[in-house]
């Protein structure tokens, strides 16, 4: 085995192979950083070139692209609360609050170091397990898949102090949206309203960009603030120092990374689990086992380590079933297997026997590209972190342009832009209502897989699956335990949670009403579909209707009573948690962090809207931001990306009085126009995303 391991490495030592690896890594990092341009899109674009490459060149470029993308996807998650890839969603939970505290450099360093460290741990596991992959494929059956999806949803739903009913509604909404489009088993079009552009369903990219990027930009435009709620110049540590601290802290708390890496690698071994589930479960387990688990989601380094430790490791793990059995764990591996097939190889036992060094070459590509991308990330981190100091109105046009392009790129259809608009508005409206975006996201992503496995379980065992699948039963018991303990915790903190909810009682009630009506209509429509295509959506819709009606009927008097206690002036109850405070540090943590916290807390206190007048003004600015967002989307749809987006950007910059000097405004307008045009050009030309507008 040692000789195969070494030969696998030395086989890569040719200039074209190394250059393709570097090229793949850089391309991967670029697309990882750009929300909407997923690694799958790039791998698909690489696929036609595979015909002209050798096997080693192919694995170098394809796997390096994947390795580069996953750390890079966390960059925007940390800096802009916008995951570059859906898998990086857990990174936003602690990474972004750290950036808000002015700790973006440290967060990026933790992310890069954890990604690399986790990836290398996974490589060690890979060496041990690659020859044992066969039996692993028989462990997971449909009941286990169904159970692990439920466990993933339960784990992530516990992030933050959100009432169970709201988590429930959020998750069910995500599931309901996931059923829109063609039923993957029967092909029946569900909830598409006859629109062919909805046949492929609602992508997680427009959803994530809408509820994260758009919501964040509207908020930042409204407040005129930057991501960092602190004045970066007042921080004691510059970003370079933060990067060093981040690296040191990750090494000091390596066990958080190791735990996540082991979990993610093992989950990666299971074909079909997918990176999204692996990341959420790794983060959820980290939350349950860490001393500061209760503070996960508020910007604790351990949370970020738990999220990022699985980032690359799950990809290394998923290489094992892909190579040894020809079974992919996610779409990235599906395309990789396709590339090997194009080259005349047969991923599976034949490949393991016929080319025993090839799997190790694959592992080395992942290890080397993962290391290099993280080193590059660490070098760039101090500069990247400065993005968090840019004020909202200046960042606005670039992020809106990226979100619009990314939503289109998701399925190469204008429906992505319409969905972005819908989810952007939804995100802004429900932003302060206390619903769980995490639960909705995981519902949206895993709904299809859940639906498939419920049907398969039914087909295999019917209700008797309970007695047939001990492993599934274990997962179910853990999920039940977690729900019960969450219920206890919620009852214990009921008053505190209730206080956080009273900000917008009327809006909440209206939202519940809309959800109830939507769910009922959804059920009625679902009843019209053939049983196999309609029964799961109907059940989910009915549960959502019941949960919404519950909140509507029983909670209304309670919330109205609390509303009466809201003060006339000053911040509304619960509003002071807009920027989470640094959680209590574990013993032994450096004292210098406390100065950062002190600065942050002071700045936060200074910059929150103090009066109703300020809040009203912020609301007006947010409304204008939404209109500008509509403008960019409309410009793109009517005039095409390369004209519409730069044109609206130019108008935006020229009429933006946030820059008092006309000359500076013109400079900004020209710069922003050129940059957004370049982005649009790159999307349309490089990625074949042709759309020239409706006129």
């Amino acid at each position: 085995m040692i000789s195969h391991l070494l030969t696998g490495l030395t086989n890569l030592a040719s200039l074209p192979t190394i250059l393709l690896m570097l090229f793949g890594m850089v391309i991967g990092m670029l697309v990882g950083m750009l929300p909407g341009l997923g690694v799958v899109l790039v791998l698909t674009l690489i696929l036609p070139f595979v015909y002209h490459m050798s096997v080693l060149q192919t694995i170098s470029i394809m796997l390096a692209t994947q390795a580069g993308a996953y750390f890079a996807a966390s960059i925007t998650a940390i800096l802009l609360n916008t995951p570059g890839a859906p898998e990086s969603f857990p990174t936003t939970l602690d990474g972004f609050p750290m950036a808000k505290r002015g700790q973006a450099g440290k967060a990026l360093a933790i992310s890069a170091t954890s990604t690399w460290m986790g990836g290398w741990i996974a490589c060690i596991i890979f060496i041990g397990l690659i020859q044992l992959a066969g039996p692993l494929a028989t462990i997971f059956h449909p009941p286990e898949y169904m159970a692990i999806i439920i466990l993933a949803i339960v784990l992530i739903a516990q992030t933050g102090n959100i009432p169970l009913s709201k988590v429930f509604i959020s998750g069910l909404l995500g599931l309901m949206l996931s059923f829109v489009g063609s039923d993957p088993v029967t092909g029946v079009e569900r909830f598409t309203m006859g629109l062919p552009t909805l046949y492929s369903g609602i992508g997680v990219v427009p959803f994530a960009l809408g509820v994260f990027a758009i919501t964040q930009m509207v908020k930042m435009y409204g407040s005129r603030k930057a991501v960092a709620a602190v004045d970066l110049s007042q921080l004691g540590d510059d970003f370079s120092t933060q990067v060093r601290q981040g690296i040191a802290e990750t090494f000091r708390r390596w066990y958080h990374v190791a735990r996540s890496a082991i979990i993610a690698t093992l989950l990666g071994l299971v074909p079909g689990i997918g990176g999204f589930t692996s990341n959420f479960i790794s983060y959820g387990v980290g939350q349950k086992t860490s001393k500061r688990g209760a503070q996960f989601g508020t910007g604790v380094p351990e949370g970020l380590m738990s999220a990022e430790g699985s980032s690359l490791s799950k990809e290394v793990g998923s290489l094992i079933p892909a190579v040894a059995l020809g079974l992919p764990s996610g779409l990235g591996m599906v395309i990789f297997i396709a590339a090997l097939t194009i080259l005349g190889l047969e991923p599976g036992p034949t490949l393991l026997k016929g080319s025993p060094t090839l799997p190790y070459s694959m592992m080395w590509v992942m290890a080397i590209a993962g290391l290099l991308s993280c080193v590059l990330g660490l070098i760039l981190a101090p500069r990247l972190a400065r993005i968090t100091g840019i004020k909202g109105p200046f960042m606005f046009p670039f992020i809106i342009a990226l979100a619009t392009l990314g939503s289109f790129a998701d399925a190469n259809t204008t429906m992505g832009i319409y969905l972005l608009v819908i989810f952007g508005i939804l995100g802004v409206v429900v932003r302060d209502l206390g619903y769980s975006v995490a639960a909705a996201a995981i519902g949206l992503v895993l709904g299809g897989t859940f639906d498939d496995n419920v049907h398969l379980t039914d087909s295999l065992y019917g209700i008797h699956f309970i007695t047939k699948s001990p492993l599934a039963d274990v997962f179910f018991l853990i999920a039940i335990y977690l729900i019960i303990s969450a219920g206890r915790r919620w009852r214990k903190n009921k008053k505190e949670i209730a206080r956080q909810e009273v900000k917008h009682p009327l809006m909440e009630w209206v939202f519940d009403l809309v959800m109830a009506v939507f769910s009922i209509v959804y059920v009625i429509v679902g009843l019209g579909y053939p049983a196999q295509a309609g029964e799961i959506p109907v059940v989910v819709g009915a549960l959502a209707a019941v949960a919404s009606l519950y909140r509507l009927v029983f909670d209304l008097p309670y919330w109205l009573k609390n509303r009466a206690q809201e003060p006339e002036e000053g911040p509304a109850v619960g509003e002071s948690d807009a920027v989470p405070a640094e959680p209590t540090l574990e013993p032994g943590t450096e004292g210098e962090e406390l100065s950062t916290v002190a600065v942050m807390t002071r700045m936060e206190h200074d910059e929150e809207p103090r009066s109703r007048k300020d809040r009203r003004q912020q609301n007006i600015r947010e409304t204008i931001a939404i209109l500008w967002f509509f403008g960019v989307a409309a410009g793109a749809l009517v005039l095409g990306f390369e004209i519409g987006i730069p044109l609206v950007t130019f108008i935006y910059a020229m009429v933006n009085k946030d820059i008092p000097s006309v000359r500076k405004r013109l400079v900004f307008a020209i710069s922003a126009t050129v940059v957004t045009w370049a982005l649009a050009f790159a999307f349309t030309q490089l990625f074949h995303l042709t759309f020239h507008g409706m006129i």
Binding site: L47, Y51, T138, H141, P142, S182, D183, P184, V185, T186, G187, V188, E189, P196, Y199, S200, R224, A226, L232, G326, L331, V334, I335, A338, T341, L343, G344, E346, P347, G348, L351, G389, I390, N412, Y418, V421, D452, N453, L456, L460, Y529, P530, Q532, A533, Q617, I620, I624, L627, F630, G631, A634, G635, L637, V638, I651, Y652, I659, S661, H688, M694
Partner: protein, 372 residues
């Protein structure tokens, strides 16, 4: 860090200025939403009314130059339909003077991708690989999901057909198809609902009276392979190429092939499996049973057909058909197909259209089994 300048309260005039600018653009968005269906018809209208005259064909040929064509593969990358699409796409693009991008739309067997193709604008710029025989079987099964009319699709031609294989897990203890004919306990078969494999499953197992239960709900052949390896079912019926690695690696054993393969890798993988014809001749079946099997065989030949949505103008369709035929004869296409063990065999678009008409209008001998 960029200095934002003054942070005073926003004046009414500023509000108006900003609001005016965006209101104009927002109105445009509404306009865009209303007019979303108009763009596609322009291209086809510009070439509509063309006949089979040389001038019209030349005009249609010019129409494709520099265009981007979306070729939908109705399965995942690496699936059979995807591989055919990717083998042919470069040469098809070369002969059309266009860029042909392969887009994977997986689900419902292959129905989701075909639905999407059929709903696209009939301008020749969106085409797909179609599992015609499987779709006809689904139609006979009255399976929900098909939102297209096979007889109205614009058929471009057939790229080839590959034999299907009935496989079993090595630990099933079954080494020959004939053993199944006397089996009493129902065998468990993994099955992708819709498609050729599903049709063969139902017709062959039904006609040969082999007791069986289906484990259905797999969304793709890849998912089916996973279920097969995990032991969710010990039997499967699918096209041969996706099962090559499992057959070569000893994870699956071929019991029956629908026709004798010709490509060396497929011949090797088939091993000592009997052909459907051999099984038929060595077993006494009723005329209805034999007719059903022969009909299933005939339908399975309608495979890997290329088609566009209904209503592609005749001249454009003619250009697509000619380019498709040239693409299949291109040496690079043949070499790549051999490399991937995907058999090629050209059938013209008009012939495919006739075969589809005949298959659908003919009486259905397989109905007894597929509807069961």
């Amino acid at each position: 860090m960029i200095n934002l300048g003054r942070r005073n309260a926003m004046s009414k005039s500023r509000l108006k200025a900003s609001a005016l600018g965006v209101a104009v653009a927002s109105a445009g968005m509404l306009l865009a939403a209303c007019g979303s269906s108009s763009s596609s018809s322009t291209a086809s209208n510009s070439n509509s009314g063309s006949s089979s005259t040389t001038a019209a064909t030349a005009s249609a040929a010019a129409y494709f130059k520099g265009k981007t064509i979306t070729l939908i593969a109705p399965d995942n990358p690496g699936g059979d339909f995807d591989l055919y699409a990717r083998i042919i796409a470069p040469a098809l693009g070369k002969y059309l003077g266009a860029t042909v991008n392969v887009e994977n739309v997986n689900g419902g067997g292959t129905i989701v991708g075909t639905n999407q193709m059929a709903a696209s604008a009939p301008n020749g710029l969106t085409i797909s690989v179609v599992n015609t025989g499987g779709d006809i079987a689904s139609l006979i099964e009255k399976q929900p999901g098909q939102s297209f009319n096979l007889q109205k699709l614009s058929w471009i031609g057939q790229a080839g057909t590959s034999p299907s294989v009935f496989v079993t897990s090595p630990n099933s203890g079954v080494t020959k198809f004939s053993q199944l004919l006397s089996i009493k306990t129902p065998i468990k078969v993994v099955d992708v609902r819709n498609g050729t494999g599903d049709m063969f499953n139902r017709v062959v197992l039904g006609a040969f009276n082999i007791p069986h239960t289906f484990v259905t709900g797999f969304t793709s052949v890849s998912a089916l392979k996973q279920g097969f390896l995990a032991g969710d079912g010990q039997y499967a019926f699918e096209n041969m190429p996706p099962f090559l690695s499992m057959l070569d690696g000893g994870q699956a054993r071929a019991l029956l092939v629908t026709s004798q393969p010709t490509l060396p890798k497929l011949v090797k993988a088939a091993g000592s499996a009997v052909t459907l014809q051999q099984a038929l001749s060595s077993t006494t079946l009723s005329s209805a049973q034999s007719a059903a099997i022969k009909e299933a065989e005939a339908l399975s030949v309608l495979d890997y057909d290329f088609a566009g949505p209904p209503g592609i103008p005749a001249a454009q369709l003619s250009v697509l058909r000619t380019a498709f035929q040239k693409a299949l004869a291109d040496p690079s296409t043949i070499a790549q197909a051999n490399k991937e063990s995907e058999p090629l065999g050209f059938v013209s678009g008009s012939s495919v259209a006739s075969q589809v008409d005949s298959a659908i209008s003919a009486g259905s001998a397989i109905a007894t089994y597929v509807n069961g």
